[in-house]
């Protein structure tokens, strides 16, 4: 009796399995979607993080777009970088253009200490919302709101909000310069800049476009648009627009003259060897 049951079950299962296999086979034949095989190939070399850094919703859509365009001009995967670009170019049989490695930088130094709070934000932790509501706890209409939209948007855990300063910090090793934080920030504080030699970078940590007096009122380290840095720079890398200095990273030779010149310490230099400390992370500027 028992033997029969086992045999019956085996036969029954076998038949069910066989039928299912046949149906599946025909379905896959009949409904087969024919697409360019290169899409799969390119999708395979892409990182697959679907970060959206390229401007497309995901890696596969990027692959489709690349194949459709037939070139990678104007399309760049910031995560995969040049290696990936080269691989894609190989698949398409074209040559790849080169791009320098980049990193996100936070152009605001309005920490709790530098820009003391004038009001207390008690709502959803969303920069987008806070931005629509008011100028910010520090009353600087250009400064970081500290709610961490950028940190939440980052797919690579490369940004966190420092608890003391309430400012975002970029984890240099983790940042792939996908640029999602740049588009997420409602105040346009984050910028992608060249990583620089040994990670050395000099940039203005302020976005305030108010006149000096107004800017200084809310924040001790605001750019007051005095223009001293621009005068000091020998490489014409610094421009002054709307009371705000900007250092062009393609021209900057990392001489740090501007850093010492700035009266409000609004220019930050990172990864330079400091006289006292060994290494400065996202820093207050060096004394020299």
């Amino acid at each position: 009796m028992t033997g029969n049951v086992i045999i019956d079950a085996a036969i029954l299962l076998g038949i069910v399995g066989l039928t299912a296999a046949i149906i599946l086979y025909f379905v896959s034949k009949v409904f087969k979607v024919i697409e360019d095989p290169r899409i799969d190939e390119i999708a395979a070399v892409l990182p697959g993080a679907n970060c959206g850094g390229c401007g497309y919703p995901g890696c596969r859509t990027l692959a489709e777009a690349i194949v459709k365009a037939g070139s990678i001009e104007g399309i760049f995967c910031p995560v995969g970088g040049e290696k990936t670009a080269q691989k894609i170019a190989d698949i398409l049989g074209i040559s790849a253009a080169s791009a320098e490695p980049k990193i996100a930088v936070i152009r605001c130094n309005g920490s709790c200490e530098n820009a003391p709070a004038k009001s207390f934000y008690d709502s959803t932790l969303s920069c987008a919302f806070a931005h629509s509501l008011f100028a910010g706890e520090s009353a600087c209409a250009y400064g970081c709101l500290g709610c961490g939209d950028c940190a939440a948007a980052c797919k690579f855990n490369a940004i966190y909000i420092d608890k003391l300063t309430k400012l975002p910090v970029i984890v240099e090793e983790a940042c792939v310069a996908c640029g999602i934080c740049v588009t997420t920030c409602p105040r346009n504080i984050i910028e992608l800049r060249n990583r620089g030699k040994n990670g050395k970078r000099v940039y203005v940590t302020c976005r305030n476009q108010e006149k000096g007096a107004w800017a200084k009122k809310n924040c001790n380290v605001a750019c007051i648009g005095c223009g001293k840095c621009a005068k000091a720079c020998q490489f014409e890398a610094i421009t002054l627009t709307n009371n705000l200095a900007y250092i062009d990273y393609t021209k900057c030779k990392l001489c740090k003259k501007c850093v010492s010149e700035c009266p409000t310490q609004a220019i930050t230099a990172v990864n330079f060897p400091a006289p006292k400390k060994e290494k400065i992370e996202v820093s207050t500027t060096s004394e020299e």
Binding site: K118, S123, T124, L133, F134, G136, W214
Partner: protein
């Protein structure tokens, strides 16, 4: 008693200042007038530092359609025209005037005599409303004249007047109805002429029986004005809900009230319209309730525009443990971030919310109680929109009608898990709106 059907809540009314007669706040030494006191494009200043101005003189003009004129509320000398931080802390262009005396423009009728007879014609009334810079004083500050530029294919059946004042605490509309009811009705008459509508309906919430009886008595002399009692229910005064309550018509979603032949105005706006049409007096004052559970004094002030908020605050005193100062009602008003700012059109209150009440509760998990869904007067699902907006799925947000949200706050008011529903819905609405606009381009 009439009311709307879907959703609605009944917050504590707290109409503490309803017995306080409207008092004139003394003219300050200096006023600062923002050029954006209304919804729409900023108006353009036409004065510069050193210019002498009189009360009621035009100082900034409307250059585009959705924009309003701005007049000097004081006489004196213009000190500067430059950006000043507003209530939110953002700097906006403003005209600062040092006050000297109180000399009015000659064209303005400053007598207190009530002028009943309307001599102006339809286009003249609309032109006068526009010239006098009248905006909706219910909170949104939408330029009133724009509402009366009705497309020729549309017919206006009703002028709807909002005397509901459904926000807790605020009592200015209530006081205006009691003290200036006669003038309001003349203002409504002017609106009837301006729109060609055969009938006006005024809705007043049942918690103001004195105002209701007073207006009903006054309205008996006007056969084309009807006064209705509305159930005390928030948001009774919201445009679409009010139309539904008073006429039974439902504004199709995404459309304006004119679609169902209605134009809605606030009762205080009708008073401003009366002053504009009959007295040629521009909108240079705002009616403001000073209130709060622990407020030192309860007041209903008539304040010249541009008066410093901190000056008013020091006159009335900030109570101990004030967590938040809110301009506008506690349901839809704005928390003031910068008290060194100035009064603008339609700033209907300064409320002192005690710290114990103003502090947001600790956000917990959604327990799917559905209180937000039953509270939503637009029939939306706030818990769902919140989740979708948090996920940044704006396509789905649009599908679930996020753009219909009137931001009344009923959902968040009743949420037992203290979830910041409206905050995120606003973000979602903003982003979804942007998405729709770019798609339509």
């Amino acid at each position: 008693m009439k009311t709307f059907k879907i959703g609605g809540i009944h917050p504590e009314e707290n109409k503490l200042a309803k017995e306080e007669a409207i008092e004139v706040f003394p003219i300050p030494k200096q006023v600062t007038l923002f050029v954006t006191q209304h919804l729409g494009a900023p108006s353009t200043p036409i004065v510069q530092a050193g210019d002498k101005v009189k009360v009621g003189q035009l100082v900034a003009t409307a250059q585009t359609l959705v924009c309003a004129n701005l007049h000097s509320p004081v006489s004196g000398t213009v000190v500067k025209v430059e950006p000043v931080p507003d209530m939110t802390g953002y700097r906006k262009l403003a005209i600062t005037i040092d006050v000297e005396d109180d000399i009015w423009e000659e064209t303005i009728d400053t007598t207190s005599e009530i002028r009943k007879e309307i001599t102006l014609t339809k286009p003249e009334i609309i032109e006068r409303i526009k010239a006098c810079g009248v905006v909706g004083l219910g909170g949104a500050c939408f330029p009133t004249h724009v509402k009366y530029m009705v497309p020729p294919e549309k017919k206006v059946d009703y002028i709807i007047v909002n005397g509901a004042e459904c926000e807790p605490y605020i009592t200015t509309d209530h006081r205006i109805m009691l003290e200036n009811g006669e003038e309001c009705l003349i203002g409504v008459q002017a609106l009837l002429i301006a729109s060609g509508a055969p009938e006006a309906r005024i809705g007043i919430e049942a918690n103001k029986p004195d105002a209701f009886e007073h207006l009903q008595r006054l309205a008996s002399q006007y056969p084309n004005i009807k006064v209705f009692k509305l159930k005390t229910k928030y948001p009774q005064g919201a445009e679409k809900q009010l139309i539904k309550s008073l006429t039974g018509r439902e504004v199709p979603n995404g459309k304006l009230p004119i679609e169902v032949g209605c134009i809605v105005n606030n009762i205080t706006t009708t008073y401003a319209i009366y002053e504009a049409v009959q007295k040629n007096k521009p909108l240079i004052e705002t009616y403001t309730t000073i209130s709060g559970k622990r407020a030192k004094t309860l007041k209903n002030y008539k304040i010249r525009l541009g008066t410093s908020i901190s000056e008013v605050l020091s006159t009335v005193g900030i109570p101990e443990n004030t967590g938040k100062i809110v301009s506008g009602g506690p349901m839809m008003g704005k928390a003031i971030a910068n008290i060194n700012s100035y009064f603008v059109k339609g700033m209907s209150s300064l409320l002192f919310i005690d710290e114990s009440e103003s502090k947001r509760g600790v956000v917990e998990e959604c327990i799917r109680c559905g209180k937000c869904v039953t509270a939503c007067p637009m029939g939306l699902e706030p818990y769902l929109l919140y989740a979708l907006a948090t996920r940044a799925d704006y396509e789905e947000c649009e599908k679930h009608g996020i753009m219909n949200c009137i931001e009344c706050g009923s959902c968040q008011y009743g949420c037992p898990a203290f979830r910041p529903l409206l905050d995120m819905i606003r973000v979602g609405k903003n982003k979804t709106g942007y998405m729709i606009r770019t798609r339509n381009k």
